[in-house]
């Protein structure tokens, strides 16, 4: 793993999709008037005959995707996360999820990563997609995972929802890192750690930074990366939490219905009595603002993880202070 501030890259998804589509002629790319924003401009320019812009009409897009998939195409549907989940939920449910079709729905700007306010911030997309039978829900943490996820979800039969950060994507993992759709991974620590931090997507940098601070204050911490929220790798999660004094989930999503809820279900069903705290958006809509501003204001920062851990462990005094990682241009720093 690399250290923050992380190097960034542009359009890892768009490039991976184009490379895959060159080898797989059955792949069709659909978009709804957000071509550059969903990194699919490079697909459009390279394979225009298999790129279809449906205009601002997401419901129709989902229905067309379903028809194409019934005719044995693999269809990648691209727009912002809010528009491919909330806006056309019945269409995703009936035209894609119920018939188990090979449609890969890619939603950009998860949680509070968009400055665009509540209309553009997908704070409930995981909850919505997780509730649909047959749907796989994926959230890669960095560019290395994004590249691997594209091929992995294409190979996985049936519908997939993948939420992706838009724009500059950090490079956290080494090239040797392997994303598996049925596995959560221990990034640091071990199953005898006092604190078990379970995170995914854009919260991985904060989870890693928080664990490092805890270790430096004599508190052992394990960090689990959960790139697939459904189906959840419950065995790895329960195993990692078995000897912990507290489990903390960290998600760039409403704490209702997302990773925190999924982990709570897994732990409860396994009979685990370990205390659980959910770091995430506290059941409110967001507002406009930068990622740094919003992650701090809505409780998604490294400091929030530290505060929850410190209080949860019943340790006295103020919790340790999260280091400020200088945000340099061309690099990505955890908040």
């Amino acid at each position: 793993m690399h250290k923050p501030p992380y190097q960034i890259t542009l359009k890892p998804y768009g490039q991976a999709l184009l490379e895959l589509a060159r080898r797989r002629p059955e792949i069709i790319c659909l978009g709804a008037d957000l071509t550059r924003q969903t990194e699919t401009d490079i697909f459009r320019d390279a394979i225009p005959e298999r790129f279809i812009n449906v205009g601002m009409a997401e419901a129709n897009m989902m229905g067309i995707a379903g028809g194409l998939a019934r005719a044995r195409h693999i269809v990648f549907v691209n727009t912002f996360g809010v528009f491919c989940t909330r806006r056309c939920f019945d269409q995703v449910a009936m035209s894609i999820a119920y018939p188990k079709l090979n449609v890969k729905i890619v939603g950009f700007m998860p949680g509070l990563s968009s400055p665009g306010g509540p209309s553009h911030q997908a704070v409930d997309d995981v909850a919505l997609m997780r509730a649909l039978p047959n749907m796989t829900v994926v959230e890669p943490a960095d560019a290395v995972e994004v590249r691997q996820a594209v091929a992995a979800i294409a190979d996985r039969p049936g519908p997939v929802y993948m939420r992706l950060k838009r724009g500059e994507t950090p490079i956290i993992f080494d090239e040797s890192h392997r994303l598996e759709l049925n596995k959560a991974q221990v990034l640091t620590g071990n199953d005898h750690s006092e604190v078990c931090i379970i995170a995914g997507g854009m919260m991985i940098p904060a989870a890693l930074a928080g664990a490092q601070v805890l270790e430096s204050h004599g508190v052992s911490a394990v960090v689990l990366n959960v790139p697939v929220i459904k189906p959840l790798d419950a065995a790895t999660i329960v195993g990692a939490a078995r000897h912990s004094r507290i489990v903390i989930t960290a998600e760039n999503h409403n704490i209702i219905g997302g990773l925190g809820s999924a982990v709570a279900e897994a732990l409860a069903e396994a009979g685990s009595a370990v205390p659980l705290r959910r770091v995430g958006i506290a059941d409110v809509f967001g507002e406009s603002g930068s990622r740094e501003f919003l992650f701090q204001r809505y409780g998604l920062s490294t400091q929030n993880i530290l505060d929850v851990a410190w209080r949860g462990l019943g340790l006295g005094g103020p919790s340790p202070v999260a280091p400020v990682v200088e945000s340099v241009p061309g690099a990505y720093a955890p908040v």
């Binding site: 009409a57 419901a59 067309i64 028809g67 194409l68």
Partner: protein, 270 residues
């Protein structure tokens, strides 16, 4: 000429058979989506009496409540074992009252209305990518066109007309929806003008005239705009036995009405 008259006569009989089978299917429970079959009997007779090529063309049934008419038509033309019709709507039956993913004989059926045309466009695009002469037929009903997705799809098809030449849509305009006549709930006329303004070639016919329906479908051309046939029908299919006060969307069929309707239909077949 005599041959054409025979075809028309056969299609009329087929439409009557569809109505008769549908009446018997609904009679088992005493209520059901009979009006849909009565209004669309000629449309299904024409589509399944020679237009749709089973195994080659794709058929999309947008409003899943009409599946009763499809079952009846399929049984009449040998695509379905007629004894299967007796299980219609029963617990665990293959022939469900509203179409699902289990429904046989269709490439796509939608219980949630307004979604069928989009799926049909997906099929038409796939056929375009694959080449060949595979047609896509979509049956749509008038009430479901209140769903905005219909018009998203209509706009898309016209904009992509060079890839939609093998898409044909038939609309059953029976002026019936759950809360009453479409004209009283949310009027959509002028329908032909709406489709035309969205870039479609529009033909408007008497939906109970098998000859007019056949000619309209035969007039399609694969190198022009997609074709929509607006079939004007009546929810009770011009059956004299059914009082005008009956609920068209979900008919209650008491034994007296059932007997009268079956007698009327059997007389037409005699």
């Amino acid at each position: 000429m005599a041959e054409q008259q025979q075809v028309v006569s056969d299609l009329r009989r087929l439409a009557t058979q569809i109505r008769l089978s549908a009446t018997r299917m609904v009679a088992i429970q005493g209520f059901g989506y009979l009006g849909q079959a009565l209004s669309s009997a000629e449309i299904f007779a024409v589509l399944f009496g020679g237009v749709v090529r089973p195994g080659r063309d794709r058929f999309v049934l947008a409003p899943g409540h009409y599946v009763i008419a499809l079952y009846a038509a399929a049984a009449a033309v040998g695509l379905l074992d007629p004894t299967e019709l007796e299980s219609y709507g029963k617990d665990g039956a293959l022939l469900e009252a509203i179409g699902t993913e289990r429904t046989p004989l269709v490439d796509l059926v939608c219980g949630s209305l307004g979604q069928g045309l989009s799926g049909a466009i997906g099929f038409a695009l796939a056929a375009h990518f694959a080449g060949g002469d595979r047609d896509t037929y979509a049956f749509v009903s008038d009430g479901e066109m209140q769903e905005g997705q219909t018009w998203e799809a209509a706009m898309f098809a016209a904009h992509n007309r060079h890839r939609m030449g093998r898409l044909v849509v038939v609309v059953d305009v029976n002026n019936s929806q759950v809360d009453g006549p479409v004209t009283s709930v949310l009027a959509m006329e002028p329908l032909a003008d709406k489709w035309r303004s969205f870039g479609w070639r529009v033909l408007e016919v008497d939906g109970h005239d098998v000859d007019a329906l056949s000619r309209a479908l035969a007039s399609r051309s694969t190198d022009s705009e997609p074709l929509v046939v607006i079939a004007r029908t009546e929810i009770f299919g011009r059956m004299k036995s059914i009082p005008a006060s009956a609920d068209g969307h979900f008919i209650k069929l008491d034994p007296t009405l059932e007997l009268a309707l079956i007698s009327e239909l059997e007389a037409a077949l005699a």
